[in-house]
Each structure stands twice: as structure tokens, then as C-alpha cells.
């Protein structure tokens, strides 16, 4: 089984479960289903089309756009011919596209629609390797005349012609394939520096997938909604590798804006999402509860409190009282089940959070409401997943057990090391970076620091390089503080500072939707994000939220000063990655003036921010922002009397 490749699995599925649904796409408001037999035909015809245009073993094909069956088919088609798929972030700006496409020497780009085609065509002069641009959705593109621009359907038509002249061509190419062939070249968004091309072979991908199915209950009848960026390894693992290995059904949403509704309509049985999505869901839920009638709101809050307390007791191993069990049963009927239904999680057996740590409060909230949410951990270099929490062992503090077939070791400096079949083949054309990451005997340095607890669960403390110490020597893990902050529905992002500093301070970006909603209900007029974030009322609101967070933080880690940023953290400005991880060092450098002001005790600071538009233009924004004090910096940190 380990000696397989993705195209071989596709052929197996087309033979052994030809009629089973492989992938669906919502189109014209209706889910259109493609069986495994059809999936194979689509892939085969497209692969033949590629072959007819001279695509050969070792060539690279990039896909860019939202999750569409055609973009998944194109990736498998390239792999059928011994080529490599390079999935890209659909919201990449020009400079990122040029970097990846030229670094990977991509010769074929499959773009979702006119928007993406326009982006690629405008960069054509900078991409000498690019020969063919193929589009999936012809809307607006019919009158484009540009050499090497083709529709997906035309490619397949050319493929059928080529196939008639060369019978058995793709099948023979698949047989020629080797599990060690490079299947996927995926660029890590990287919280530092330039993206790196992670080389993953079929054996790597299947190594990770097989470890996963050995540890988790996953079935051929499962339904998954594919809505995460295709360039994220988590999406490749589930929507490409696992679906081929297991045979379950992938579902592509109609449009990014309809994901929430599509999720509810579909009711997937399994789901994976990064923390950002869970935080968003929770925020939406709380806004809607606050907007509903007072009775409903109070019911929601009452049963939420009940469930969270019960979950807490369960975590501590205490038995639930009869009254609390009765209350939970009532809550299930009145609140928990309807909420799960609204979220589209009614049929979900398990859902994962991964990619970054999820705040324990958010985690507990979902578990309290009966959602079997579990933490997973992995990395692009490990072909996705490396550890997960078995059912019944969910815990906000750990990332579970490493999957079968992997070994874990903790280095002397606390870094987590992993050895398995999934460990990648190296960074493309960056042997030095590869050497820094791999150590002898196939161990991979994960870049995260952590330890293995008594149960055998892996605990990740933080990015190894982020964990620091306050000036008095107290360990300081910024992400821990930030996750606490992000539990507030009014806070979208936060960056905490404190390494080698006397106290903790934070830059906070408000959540425009919820704070805007809050302002409207108070008849507080505002014009823009910048305007809203500068309102003293909003500062007070966030100060109260932070005070609440502080109550649950160890004394030394409490936030004393903060500032509301006049804009959102934006991937186009390099402040966060496309998977929404804070680029901590970059932010610290960019806002050095703010950090300086925090610790000098200034009451305001002049911030000059540079904004990058999607077309690459830049604009500067200068404003004076007030720094708010939550705890007096001079006040000795001590436990308040009521705590």
C-alpha cells in the first residue's frame, strides 16, 4: 500500500467504487455530483490534454483559485504524467505569484476565473517558464485572445483527440510513476522570510494519510466541505490525498461567501478548520445571540454557562451531578442541538482544529455544546498531520498522540522532533534551509517547542523561537496570551510583547463586524475601521475585555498596556501569513515605535503604516494612536484580593 501513488489510487477507486460520489460542486444552487468513474475520466482527459501540449515528467503545474473540482483534477492529472502540482493561495499578490511561479519553474497554470487569469497574464513577461494558462470558469474570458490561453474544456477536448491517437497513454504513464516522485510542491507561507517550496513525494503524502487513517475513524461514506485555501497542506491532505485513499466525498462550496450556508445545507460528517474559523463561528454566534430577543439571549447564556461548567468539571475528572445532567439534557433540546444545526455541525462525528493553537476557551465552548472538536498538529514538512487526539482524549492543552508510524523526540532545547515516512524531501532549490531542518537519521525539526505529557500526549508550548522570558525571568508564551484575547468577540487579532521586558503589552486589532455592530447599537457613528478604532468608547470596551482576560491570566502575564491598531493585520502587508498566523518578528520591527512607546510609558504614539493594495501599489497612513493603560505599570503585580 505504501508503494502506491495518488493516480494509482484514483484508478483503483474508478474500478472498485465507480458509482460512489467522489466530488460535488454546488452550481446554480444545486449540488452536482461526480462519481469516481467520472472523476477519473475528467482527470484522464485533462492529463491527455496536458500531454498533447508537451507536458512531461518532472514538469510543474500550478493551480490558483477557490476550491473547484477542476483545480483538484488538474493536480492529479499533472501527477498522472509524473509531474508536480503547485497549489497557490488565491489571494496572493503579484510579487508572491511571481516568486512562486518562477522559483518553481511552473510551465502550466490552471486558474479558476477571469480575476486569476488577469493576474497571471499581467505578470507574463516576468515568467519565462510559463507556457500555458488554463481557466476553469469561462465567464468574461471568451473574447480574450492571448497565446497559450485555453479553457479547461478545450484542454480536455484536445486530450480526447490525443487519447484516440495514443490509446493507453495516461495509464502507461501512471504505471511508470514511482512513489518517490515529487507529487506536491507547496510553498509555506512562513512566519519568517521568503516562502520555501516544500517537496512532498507520493510516499510522503500517503505516509501521513495512512498514519492518519490508522488513528482516526474515517469512512468511505464521509462528507467533507473543501473550503480552505488549496495551498494549505491541510486542504491537500484531506481534499486530495485522503479522499483518494479512503474514497469519501469532497464538496466544493458555491462561492467563498456562501460557505456558511453550504456548510449548513450539507451537514458534513467530518471537518477541519484553522482556529481563525472556529473563533469566527463563535463570534458570529455570540453576535446573533446578543441580537436576538432578551429571552433567547438569556436562555443561550444560561445554558452556555451550564455546559461550560460541566465541561470544566469533566476535564477535572469530577462526576456531573444529577441536576446538572438534567439541565444539560434540557439544554441539548433547547440550545445545543439547534446551535450545532445552525453551524452545520449536526452530523459531524469529529471536527479538527489545526494549523495554530486554538484558545482553550474557544475549544471548551465547542466541546460544551457537544461538538467533538479535537486538536491536531502537523506541518507542511510532515505532509500535514503528525498528531491528533483520539476520541475521549480531547483536551485544549495538548495536540494528542503522534500518528502510527511516527516517532517523536524532544531535543535538549525543547524542540519537538519527528521521524516518519511523511518527512518531506527537502526545500526546493534551498539545500541550506533543508540542512537546517533535517537532522541525522531522518529526524525533522518541527520548529515548535513542547513536551510529551504523562498520558503520552504531545504538548506544544509555542513556536520554539517565540517563547521568551519577562525581565524577571517568568516564562512568556505570547500565543497563549493572544489566544486568550482573541476569545473576546471584539478582538480579531492581537500581538503580545513581553520577551525581556518588564511587563506584557499588546497591539490589538478590533473585529470590525462585532465592534461595528456594538457601536451601532449604541448610536455611535463611525466612518471606517480607522475611525472606529480611535473612538474612546471602543478603547474602553476593549479595556474591559482585556481586564476580563487578565483575571484568568497568571499575574506576571497580565496585559498592562495596549493600543488599538488603526487597520486590520493584513497578509498583503506581510503582517500575517495567508493562513493567518502572525509574523511576529515582522510586526515587532514594523511597529518598533509602538513597542518603544509601550515601555517608555508614553500615552500616545505616532504610527506610520504602509498599506499595500492588491495591485501592489503602496500608500502611507500616519496617525496618532492613544495607548491605554489597563493595569498601572507602576503598580506592583500582585494577586487581587477577590481572586
Amino acid at each position: 500500500m505504501t508503494q502506491s501513488t495518488l493516480p494509482r489510487l484514483l484508478r483503483r477507486n474508478a474500478e472498485q467504487m465507480a458509482a460512489r460520489p467522489a466530488i460535488r460542486e454546488k452550481n446554480h444552487g444545486i449540488w452536482q455530483t461526480f462519481s469516481w468513474a467520472q472523476y477519473w475520466e475528467e482527470v484522464r482527459d485533462f492529463a491527455l490534454g496536458l500531454a498533447a501540449h508537451g507536458f512531461r515528467r518532472g514538469d510543474k503545474l500550478a493551480v490558483i483559485g477557490d476550491n473547484r473540482p477542476g483545480l483538484y483534477w488538474a493536480q492529479v492529472a499533472a501527477q498522472c504524467l509524473g509531474g508536480t502540482a503547485v497549489p497557490m493561495y488565491q489571494d496572493s499578490i503579484a510579487s508572491e505569484l511571481v516568486f512562486v511561479l518562477s522559483h518553481a519553474e511552473v510551465s502550466v497554470v490552471v486558474a479558476e476565473d477571469q480575476e486569476q487569469v488577469d493576474k497571471i497574464l499581467s505578470l507574463r513577461d516576468e515568467l519565462p517558464h510559463l507556457q500555458l494558462v488554463i481557466y476553469d470558469d469561462p465567464k468574461g474570458l471568451r473574447h480574450y485572445s492571448s497565446g497559450g490561453l485555453q479553457s479547461f474544456a478545450d484542454m480536455q477536448a484536445a486530450g480526447r483527440e490525443f487519447g484516440a491517437a495514443h490509446p493507453g497513454y495516461v495509464e502507461a504513464e501512471i504505471d511508470n510513476g514511482d512513489p518517490d516522485d515529487l507529487a506536491l510542491l507547496t510553498y509555506t507561507s512562513g512566519t519568517t522570510g521568503r516562502p520555501k517550496g516544500v517537496m512532498l513525494s507520493h510516499a510522503n503524502l500517503l505516509g501521513s494519510a495512512q498514519g492518519f487513517i490508522a488513528a482516526e475513524d474515517i469512512r468511505v461514506t464521509d462528507e467533507l466541505l473543501c473550503y480552505l485555501p488549496m495551498a494549505w497542506i491541510g486542504d491537500s491532505l484531506f481534499s486530495l490525498v485522503l479522499t483518494l485513499l479512503v474514497g469519501f466525498t469532497c464538496n466544493c462550496p458555491e462561492r467563498p461567501q456562501t460557505v456558511q450556508r453550504d456548510l449548513r445545507e450539507l451537514g458534513p460528517t467530518i471537518a477541519i478548520a484553522p482556529p481563525r474559523i472556529w473563533e469566527n463561528m463563535l463570534t458570529q454566534l455570540r453576535v446573533r445571540a446578543a441580537d436576538s430577543t432578551p429571552l433567547k439571549h438569556r436562555l443561550f447564556e444560561f445554558f452556555r454557562g451550564l455546559a461550560e461548567r460541566a465541561e470544566q468539571r469533566k476535564g477535572e475528572g469530577k462526576p456531573a451531578s444529577l441536576i446538572s445532567r438534567l439541565g444539560l439534557a434540557l439544554g441539548e433540546a433547547l440550545v445545543y442541538a439547534p446551535v450545532r444545526d445552525q453551524l452545520g455541525l449536526r452530523r459531524a462525528r469529529w471536527v479538527y482544529t489545526g494549523g495554530a493553537p486554538l484558545g482553550p476557551d474557544t475549544f471548551r465552548f465547542f466541546r460544551a455544546f457537544g461538538v467533538n472538536i479535537k486538536q491536531v498538529w502537523g506541518s507542511t514538512e510532515l505532509a500535514g498531520l503528525a498528531s491528533l487526539q483520539p476520541d475521549g482524549e480531547a483536551d485544549p492543552d495538548t495536540v494528542g498522540r503522534v500518528i502510527p508510524g511516527s516517532d517523536v523526540r524532544i531535543a535538549e532545547d525543547g524542540e519537538v522532533l519527528i521521524r516518519s515516512a511523511a518527512v518531506f524531501k527537502g526545500y526546493y532549490k534551498q539545500p541550506d534551509a533543508t540542512r537546517d531542518t533535517m537532522i541525522d537519521d531522518g529526524w525533522l525539526r518541527s520548529g515548535d517547542s513542547g513536551f510529551v505529557d504523562r498520558r503520552g500526549h504531545l504538548v506544544i508550548v509555542d513556536r520554539a523561537k517565540d517563547v521568551g522570558k519577562l525581565a524577571d525571568g517568568t516564562p512568556f508564551a505570547p500565543q497563549f496570551v493572544e489566544n486568550k484575547l482573541k476569545f473576546s468577540p471584539f478582538i480579531a487579532e492581537a500581538v503580545a510583547f513581553g520577551d525581556r521586558r518588564p511587563f506584557v503589552a499588546a497591539i490589538v486589532a478590533i473585529d470590525l463586524t462585532t465592534v461595528g455592530n456594538w457601536a451601532e447599537r449604541r448610536n455611535l457613528a463611525y466612518t471606517s475601521f480607522q475611525d472606529l478604532s480611535a473612538k474612546p468608547e471602543v478603547r474602553r470596551l476593549i479595556a474591559e475585555e482585556i481586564a476580563e482576560v487578565n483575571a484568568s491570566l497568571p499575574v506576571a502575564a497580565r496585559i498592562r498596556r495596549f493600543l488599538l491598531l488603526n487597520k486590520e493585520f493584513d497578509a498583503d502587508d506581510n503582517e500575517i501569513t495567508r493562513t493567518r498566523k502572525i509574523r511576529r518578528r515582522f510586526v515587532a520591527d514594523k511597529y518598533a515605535a509602538v513597542v518603544g512607546a509601550f515601555y517608555r510609558g508614553d500615552s500616545e504614539v505616532e504610527v506610520m503604516t504602509e498599506i499595500t493594495y492588491e495591485d501592489g501599489r503602496k500608500a502611507a497612513l500616519t496617525s496618532t494612536i492613544v495607548i491605554e493603560e489597563v493595569l498601572k505599570a507602576t503598580e506592583p503585580a500582585r494577586e487581587p484580593a477577590y481572586a
Binding site: N27, H28, G29, K139, G140, R142, H143, R255, T258
Partner: protein, 271 residues
């Protein structure tokens, strides 16, 4: 698909010597204009130049005082709006006219009513022809939803939508008639740059892909010059120029109508 009876290149709409006076105001004065099937023509001019009045006469809201309007070989001068709509002329309004309490989908489906043939009884029991019809019309509505990127708003009441989105819904409803000729009265008014670009994309797609003839009234000159095949310029009710976007931009009368004479400009600057 909906090119109309007239083949491309042939005049589909002929306006000859049309005038409309309101009391002493000469809203439209002896305007002659010929529009070919499949063409995208813009009518521009300063405020009060008579653009909307001209559109109102084509769609039958005003009856011309003099002159004749011929569409697809039929004289429609002074015909009732419902009659003209049934012939395949649809329009949108400068001020949005949607059914506020109804959803986006219902508003679009309403635009299909001219094509519905099933009677009251069969519609009521939803069987046979009525069912088949409903499904076909719904499929068409879905095509429009896809074209105008309204997927996430199907079930939303139009009253709660942002202005730019309501304009899009209005266009979808006009297109639901499967018109041969589409009259657009300032479809981009009050929109930001991004919304304008989207709207321009949609109009071009309708014109190029479906072959629908479009008469566009629009103030944004960049958009007009970018997407029009031809431009007609009205000033104080009269047509003062007509031609390709380039020709019109260089036309001295047009420059004068828009920027005033050099003398007037000096006066304005001095004031």
C-alpha cells in the same frame, strides 16, 4: 441567443426625429438615432440633456410629441410599456425600483412573468406544464444569479441590501425578461470604483455573450469610453455628436458642452 430578429449589423432600433416637450421645456428635440443589433451604445450629456426622457420614450413611459420609434420592424411609437416589454425591451431605472419586501430570487423570478404561460389553476396545483415551466424559469434565474454573482443573496430581502447590490438585482430582473434590447439608466450611479468595474464586467458579458443590444446612460466617462462601441451625445435635448468613443472625445461641440467655452471657463474661474 437573444439577438432578436434583426441580424447583427442591421438596425434593430430606429429613432427618427423624436421630440418631447413639457410645457415650454424642450426635453428632447428632433433626435434621430439608429442602433444595430448587438451593439453597446452609450448616451451621454450634461444633466437635463434629455437622456432619461429619450429612454422613457423608447420604453413607452412617455409618448413622443413628434417622430417615430421602430423596433425590430415594428412601429412602437407611443405603445404601452407592457406591450414594449413583451416585444423584448427591458430597462433599469436611475432610482432603483425593486420590490423591497421580496427576496432577490423572487424579484428575478418576477421578471420572468412575461414568459409564463401556465394558467391559474394548473399553477395552483403545480403540476404538468406549470411545474415544468417553473423549473425552466428557475434555471434561467440561476444563470442570472451566477452571471451577476448573487449566489449568497438568493434568499435575502432586497430591502436590506447595499445600494450597489440592489442595482445588480435590478439588472438581473431586467435580464430575466430575456430582452433583445436592454436600456440601462445610470447603472453605476453612486457606486465606488470596484462596484463600477464589476458592473462594467457584467454589462460587457451580457452584450458579448448573449448578444443583447445595450443602450447605456452613464456619467462615468472612463467607463463609457472603455466599454461602448458607439457614443451619442445629447445637449439641451439635441443630439450634438455621435461616433466612436475616440471621435466623440475629440468633437469640439462635445468639449464645449462638457467644459463650456474658453470665455465661460474664464468667467467661472474669476467668480
Amino acid at each position: 441567443m437573444n439577438g432578436g430578429e434583426a441580424s447583427p449589423g442591421e438596425a434593430q432600433l430606429t429613432i427618427s426625429g423624436v421630440s418631447k416637450h413639457f410645457g415650454g421645456v424642450r426635453a428632447v428635440e428632433a433626435v434621430t438615432l439608429s442602433v444595430r443589433a448587438g451593439e453597446l451604445i452609450s448616451v451621454i450629456g450634461p444633466n437635463g440633456a434629455g437622456k432619461t426622457s429619450l429612454l422613457n420614450m423608447i420604453s413607452g413611459f412617455y409618448r413622443p410629441d413628434t417622430g417615430a420609434i421602430v423596433f425590430a420592424g415594428k412601429d412602437i411609437t407611443g405603445a404601452r410599456p407592457s406591450h414594449i416589454a413583451a416585444l423584448g425591451i427591458a430597462r433599469t431605472f436611475q432610482n432603483i425600483a425593486l420590490f423591497a419586501g421580496m427576496t432577490v430570487l423572487d424579484n428575478i423570478m418576477l421578471g420572468r412573468h412575461v414568459h409564463m404561460k401556465a394558467g391559474v389553476l394548473s399553477s395552483f396545483i403545480y403540476w404538468g406544464l406549470a411545474q415544468k415551466e417553473e423549473i425552466a424559469h428557475r434555471a434561467r434565474a440561476e444563470e442570472l444569479i451566477e452571471l451577476l454573482e448573487l449566489e449568497d443573496l438568493r434568499k435575502q430581502p432586497t430591502s436590506g441590501l447595499a445600494y450597489g447590490l440592489r442595482k445588480r438585482v435590478e439588472l438581473a430582473r431586467a435580464l430575466a425578461l430575456d430582452p433583445k434590447l436592454l436600456l440601462l439608466d445610470e447603472p453605476m450611479g453612486g457606486m465606488n470604483q470596484e462596484e463600477k468595474e464589476d458592473m462594467a464586467r457584467f454589462i460587457l458579458e451580457v452584450n458579448q455573450q448573449w448578444g443583447t443590444t445595450v443602450i447605456l446612460i452613464e456619467h462615468d466617462m472612463a467607463v463609457v469610453m472603455d466599454i461602448s462601441d458607439r457614443v451619442a451625445v445629447l445637449d439641451r435635448g439635441r443630439k450634438i455628436a455621435e461616433g466612436s468613443p475616440g471621435e466623440v472625445q475629440r468633437h469640439p461641440d462635445v468639449i464645449r458642452a462638457y467644459l463650456g467655452t474658453a470665455k465661460e471657463r474664464r468667467e467661472v474661474a474669476a467668480a
